[in-house]
Symmetry: C2
Subunit: 219 residues, 2 copies
DNA sequence: AACTCACATATTGTCGACAATATACTCTAT
DNA sequence: ATAGAGTATATTGTCGACAATATGTGAGTT
């Protein structure tokens, strides 16, 4: 029997992750066409592998494809950003609600420590917080909700699209410290096992973020 | 130039729809293995087409697959049902909220008429309402929210899984008339352009439904 | 009898080729 | 010169075959 049950990573997995990173990062630019033969050459795999990767990318809303025409990277639009954040508000609000009930005391304790360490970093370096810290905080609450459907939809489904908007529109700025306080309050509600308040605060937090993004989107 | 821009349906599309129906209906039973060669023979298409269909079914959470092992139809569990309905509560609540703002007066008027016709049917035949009427009501509100992300996640993503639970666990019974009243109240809130109330009523409606399902699930 | 290891079988992963469809181009007619 | 039709090219959709991995079977050992 194998002790190390390491899950095997297929070519399609690697291609999918590679392409996903390139798209989020912008190396493959938003709205551009994804030619199967071209990618096949570039990545050194067969078209079958590329096609499977593209299907998965479509499932997480990073590409759109039409039959007999092909796949394109999604376009980043103001409307799309708003719609995405409305979905996020809804789902992460529910995640916070469930986390207030389902997170273990250990997880909550660990999250307190994470926020403390963020506080130290915030004072010295603003950028770190926005790029990794915020993501990490939300990530832990999503995991803490213990609802596998919700986790899948958020992490596999829309998380990377959110990252794509953040990376390519360059999120950072004056919201850093206020966002930090909002995180603190959300965690407090979860610590108090108050689902209603946790959901409300998370939704407000996301609405605020959306509004601040909207301002910057004079693209 | 073609006048009728009918979108071409590929073999993979047809297979996907066929398999989806069979899974929802239970012809392919929950939890069973989906063998690629077997399906390939049965449906008379190549494995490539089957594989693409299976990938799409995985994207709507109707099958789960492991690398080098294969795909299985999802199992229907009490826990899964609860998780699914929590997601539904969150997303359809948001849909109702947005519908209160974004639905056109014409759409609202049409929905009033739909409910009236349901009322007639409810009095004579209970089953119709639960199977088609309820679905149709929710469907129209989802479309009415005008948020394409939300629409995609609900319709393409989890709608059919909900149907699968409903069909295979046999939903019907004493909730018919109370559910009808709840629909009426939700629509009233939307008519009044009251997003907060619309969301709250929709969420309650779904929570009630979940609880009544949970009672029947002594499976 | 139960366990382990090796082998045989079946299934999934990947590939290259052909068919069907869409796109780009050229040539003609107005 | 422009619009349209027809052809040429390229891309996507589908297929069958081979390679890699997992599953099932049976012999051999304790």
């Amino acid at each position: 029997m194998n002790f190390f049950d390491e899950n095997p990573i297929t070519s399609a997995d690697k291609c999918f992750i590679q392409l996903r990173n390139d798209i989020v990062k912008g190396s493959i630019e938003a709205g551009s066409k994804l030619s199967e033969p071209e990618l096949s050459n570039k990545l050194g795999v067969s078209r079958a592998v590329i096609r499977e990767s593209l299907n998965r990318l479509e499932a997480c809303h990073l590409v759109e494809s039409k039959a007999n025409v092909g796949a394109r990277v999604v376009a980043l639009t103001a409307q799309g950003l708003i719609e995405l954040y409305q979905v996020r508000e809804s789902l992460e609000g529910m995640a916070a609600r469930l986390a207030a009930v389902n997170m273990s005391d250990e997880e909550i304790e660990a999250l307190h420590k994470l926020l403390s360490s963020h506080f130290e970093t915030v004072k010295s370096d603003e950028t770190y917080y926005q790029e990794a810290g915020d993501v990490d905080f939300h990530y832990r609450i999503i995991i803490g909700c213990k609802n596998n459907h919700l986790i899948t939809i958020l992490i596999d489904g829309i998380y990377h699209l959110i990252r794509m908007y953040r990376v390519q529109l360059g999120m950072s700025g004056p919201r850093v410290t206020t966002a930090f306080d909002e995180h603190k309050n959300i965690l407090q509600a979860i610590s108090n096992r108050d689902p209603d308040l946790a959901e409300m605060l998370m939704r407000r937090h996301i609405v605020y973020t959306r509004k601040s993004l909207k301002n910057k989107l004079i693209v």
